[in-house]
Chain length 692, copies 2
């Protein structure tokens, strides 16, 4: 029995155990509208505004895509290894593979500055719905409405930024039902403190990804600096003395990226019949190409590791989502929900104007299907998978967009995004010719397949060469690896870019008309139409259901809640937690072969470990991609774990939440400290966390 | 310097060294029309008919897809490990993994009988062109012509089989320009003698597949039995004392499966624009599914190994082929060849009727494109990837086809195929539920994507369930794993099958109408039209070019020739052979990680090996898939190596032969004996080979 079991038992008894028929722990709730009623009724939890404010300010968004939290007064930030992976990869070189081998700075002088990592901490949320809606007149065409809205949002953001100095983003919630201004403190001096070996962070690799039981130490520590000194954080999560226990109420505070729970049947049908299969086709071919290239040499593997991981992760997630979309039982449930809502709307005279919203969405989805291929291949770059191409397009468009009035630019070029964009564009991240040629060859080959060789644009793109020869010519001929040149082109504006004959810039220029054309159709004839229709649906739903509704995820801070709890699968009971003993067992079962091999340190220090210490656990709170790295906290806002995955059964949560078998996965706080102290001998770091 | 270098030097000097501008070593030549002129002119080689007869009778076809040869008077047959893989897999179980771990029968009593391996030895070739053509009247419709030809071919085969007792197949050559009757001796009592570990047979795995330099011991030995005694083989290849040397003339005698060298531009365009990308899409998704499943456990990996290998192999081959098709330079060369031939045909009054053959093919290809998806998904089973489904379809169709007159049956049900079909159908090969569910789920998901859920046939196939649930229901509900039941249904004929309610049989029954419909269109409106047009083109080509032409590959015995020779790649000289030293070096370079790890035996016995012994070598002879396992022999018909692969640059040989960088790969005879004696201590086997 592990040390804290007794304590946990007492705690569990003290909790209000919810009845079996209680509503599910569903929801990605706004911090300015938390699920107080549900928490009180189901769990007897009733905290004041300070609790929510403290949790909000202790939470951190990784702008590269992910979540984290402050875990010490000295600006220490914890996230997942796989959220930090991008930064780890970028600071690695042929001699140092921090992503694979890990890192530990014993002193603050050894902490290693990240190339282009930006963290955001939410300071304030302001409802600006009225201001945004006031700018859109009822008689406007869809295109004008889109422009007017974009313009007023850009204006609000700019004014806010000038007034507060904070990063300011207007977030579209409830598909346009509400608009909230989010003000963030930006941190760009972020330094690496600790990362374990990828082997243990991602133990079990792709095979065990989205599976449970799991045994991953998927953590990574950074420190935020201000004026070259560690940030003195007013808000941070204290470390729980015991960690997560069975049946305990826990919260997740993080940035879920995107859900499609309000999707209508027409939208789900699009995803099922085209969207997901199309993306999966691309992911499957990329996975095969990257995998077989990686296996040719250790150096290839290092170079492609991060991209391959991303591809495998997306592939498995989409596979799971598609399985849900292809499940008639699940679709029938969605269908029934939609019909119920449509009926309620139709029979309510005040909601009359929303009655045909579903049909308008269906029509927009038909339009989407018409332009989807062009949109994905050109604007979405499925035909141009190359980092250098991405740089070229950004430079080309920056020259064209920035001279326009703020409100008339493409969304990503509004003033409030300028600094983050430059930060990314001028990154010294290494770009590898061979990997570039591989991915560009693969995507140009896909382009040939999608349009045929005789297509005029494909002919122009290839210039009479095979995909491989053309990719090699473009990658080896481009000078855009030179960051100084990028800066010169960016600062030089339209004139400098017009004069630039770099082959990647020429390619970006060649396809920009078609890219912009389909994007415009998608923006105005699809997304805007849907935004208006969804706004009406969401408002109707709001009118009918009150504040029991939460908006779909938008990669902004949300609060979820749930209970630590195992589940039954194929008649077998899966316990709520795993421990270190299970880790060594799984490794032995798989003959210690990659990705089930353990770092040498873990073999060596095994005897020092208390093997019954919990390592991972599952719970019912609602999460989605983007929540990776989110703190899991107890009712006292103490850290008991860190979210790193969901099980396979949770992959349908994109569209519909279900907690029968679906679970969120976290690394247990006790396991983190045990590993830091006994395996890594990182006493200072462990002490900083536990406050000892 | 290795022992035989001096000897090889002398031999090389003795050879007629061909001039640089000599014609390429192209061609998959018929044994009844060997390239005597080319051999004499380029290499001064001039053998009599006994030489060709001896080589023919020493060569072996593996009916499962591959080649081999007799290498001792006691019926010992050598082939590739990857040709024997299917048999090795089938005789393995949870306790014995012969495919992975290898096998050696020290005594003949230990030799292990294969479940369903059939070997064929070609005894005789008879030209039956006149007889076949006589049955087709000029005024027949395409459909009638097809039936008439099928009927007469079945009649010839049946009569030949009855007369000679030999397996008799009428082979369509030159796309219908000629028809030859091939008579084979069938051997079905085949026993495993020796297989190395798959690690060393397929050292470097998928990453090094189709690459060079290589270090693979891709060999496997079987023994043919007759009346429970080892076959006394009159014809077999003697082992060369020195093996293959630089610049030496060598021959390959094997069964190339399929080439498309006579393809017209319209056919290549079909493959480029639809055929290859479609198949690659399926292969990519299968590879990803099998790979991630395999990585979940050792037992999964064992079960899927053979199928995964096949998928990866096909995928890489198609990728290479597609790269060739997308190379404008290569396509321009094919285009010029086609234009030249068309011009010559058009300007020759005697060939007038062939002038529009290319247009007829183009029209047929348009038709093919129309039905290709249905054909591949239903008749080609891309939507029904399950062994049990294959059994069900065979049983269903056998009941329907066998009562018909021989000539009116589907091609695979003619009498001469009945025994091989039964042999396969009644195989005790294990079928695994989990793997079946995996592959069937994947292919049913593809079916949904290709037709959409609303498609009537898809709805019927899925029966209101998700692809996974439906696959599980079918696999777990079917009783066809029971071979006795299969026999009962097969023997019971139409009545027994009609009464059968097995879910897999019901599924096969459900889709049989659409399968047969598209197959009929493909047979009569595409293939038959093309057959006639190609026949005219081939005859015209024959009339214009004489017997310098060879027919496309047909998985029948062919002779190729060429020189042992390195090549230049990216300005670097690649030597003609590798050795054991290089093997250990490559393994160390990849940190001995799979698939670059060596079997323990190879680590242990390293000191005993003469590391300079050659292991693999390259040469210019023309090969294609199906040639795997073919003997490589010298002018004295002594065995100097065994074909196991081609390099990446040879993958375009599907359509066009080019020896600038393209090379065939073989295991060196000296390396085989060195490994048998020093690593496996298989002295008896080595002595049997070398006659010592």
């Amino acid at each position: 029995m592990r040390r804290s079991d007794l304590l946990l038992g007492v705690l569990a008894l003290a909790m209000t155990v919810p009845a079996a028929e209680a509503p599910a722990d569903e929801g990605l709730w706004l911090f300015n509208n938390p699920p107080k009623k549900q928490l009180k009724e189901k769990y007897g939890f009733d905290a004041g505004p300070e609790w929510y404010d403290h949790v909000m300010r202790s939470s951190v968004r990784f702008n590269s895509g992910g979540s984290g939290s402050f875990v010490s007064a000295n600006g220490l930030v914890m996230t997942n290894h796989h959220v930090g992976a991008d930064a780890l990869q970028k600071m690695s070189d042929e001699k140092h593979n921090y992503l694979a081998d890990g890192f530990y700075a014993k002193t603050s002088a050894e902490e290693k500055k990240c190339l282009d990592l930006e963290l955001n901490v939410l300071e304030e949320i302001v409802d600006v719905t009225k201001e945004v809606e006031g700018a859109v007149k009822p008689d406007m065409s869809a295109e004008d409405a889109f422009k007017a809205r974009r313009s007023v949002m850009a204006k609000i953001e700019k004014e806010s930024q000038e007034k507060t100095g904070l990063r300011s983003n207007v977030i579209t919630l409830y598909q346009g039902g509400q608009y909230h201004l989010y003000r963030y403190k930006r941190y760009t001096d972020v330094r690496l403190v600790f990362a374990p070996e990828q082997q243990i962070a991602f133990f079990g690799g792709d095979p065990d990804n989205f599976e449970y039981p799991r045994y991953d130490l998927d953590i990574c520590f950074f420190r935020v600096y201000e004026n070259d000194k560690p940030l003195q954080a007013k808000h941070y999560f204290k470390w729980s003395a015991h960690g997560a226990g069975d049946n305990e109420l826990v919260f997740v505070s993080g940035n879920p990226g995107r859900t499609d729970r309000q999707n209508t049947m027409a939208e789900l049908a699009y995803l099922r019949d085209f969207g997901y299969p199309f993306v999966l086709q691309r992911l499957n071919r990329m996975e095969v190409a990257l995998m077989s290239w990686s296996q040719r040499s250790e150096e290839n593997a290092r170079r492609a590791r991060d991209e391959l991981f991303g591809v495998q992760n997306s592939r498995k997630a989409r596979d799971g989502g598609l399985a849900g979309l292809l499940d008639p039982a699940l679709m029938a449930r969605k269908q029934a929900e939609e019909e119920k809502l449509r009926k309620a709307v139709a029979s309510n005279p005040e909601l009359k104007s929303a009655a045909d919203a579903w049909d308008r969405i269906a029509k927009a989805e038909t339009k989407r299907r018409e332009v989807a291929k062009d949109f994905l291949m050109y604007e979405g770059r499925s035909g141009f998978n190359s980092q250098l191409f991405g740089v070229a397009r950004t430079l080309l468009r920056a020259a064209e967009e920035f001279p326009k009035p703020n409100g008339e630019r493409l969304r990503e070029f509004v003033d409030s995004n300028k600094e983050p964009m430059k930060f990314q564009l001028f990154s010294e991240e290494p770009i590898y010719d061979d990997l570039e040629i591989l991915t560009l060859t693969d995507s140009l080959t896909l382009l040939c397949y999608q349009y045929g060789e005789k297509d005029e644009m494909v002919k122009k793109v290839l210039g009479g060469k095979s995909p491989h020869d053309r990719a090699a010519e473009l990658v080896l001929g481009s000078k855009l690896k030179d960051v100084e040149l990028r800066k010169k082109l960016f600062e030089g504006g339209q004139q400098a870019v017009d004069a630039c004959k770099d082959p990647m810039v020429e390619l970006a220029r060649l396809i920009d008309p078609i890219s912009r054309k389909v994007r415009k159709i998608m923006d105005t004839e699809v997304d805007e139409v849907k935004r208006q229709a969804h706004s009406q649906i969401a408002k109707s739903k709001y009118a009918l259901e009150g504040d029991s509704v939460y908006p779909d995820a938008t990669f902004t801070l949300r609060l979820s809640y749930g209970a630590v709890k195992g589940y039954e699968e194929n008649g077998k009971q899966i316990p709520f937690e795993t421990n270190f003993h299970g880790l060594y067992e799984r490794s032995a079962q798989m003959k210690n072969k990659p990705p089930f091999d353990l770092p040498p340190r873990w073999e060596k220090q095994k005897d020092k470990l208390t093997l019954s210490t919990p390592l991972n656990f599952v719970f019912t709170a609602d999460i989605i991609g983007g929540n990776s790295g989110s703190p899991v906290i107890n009712k006292n806002a103490e850290l008991v774990g860190i979210v790193f995955d969901g099980n396979i059964q949770s992959l349908v949560w994109d569209f519909i939440f279900d907690e029968k078998e679906g679970r969120s996965l976290a690394v247990h706080s006790a396991g983190i400290v045990e590993a830091l102290r006994k395996v890594y001998e990182a006493q200072d770091l462990a002490n900083e966390l536990t406050g000892k």
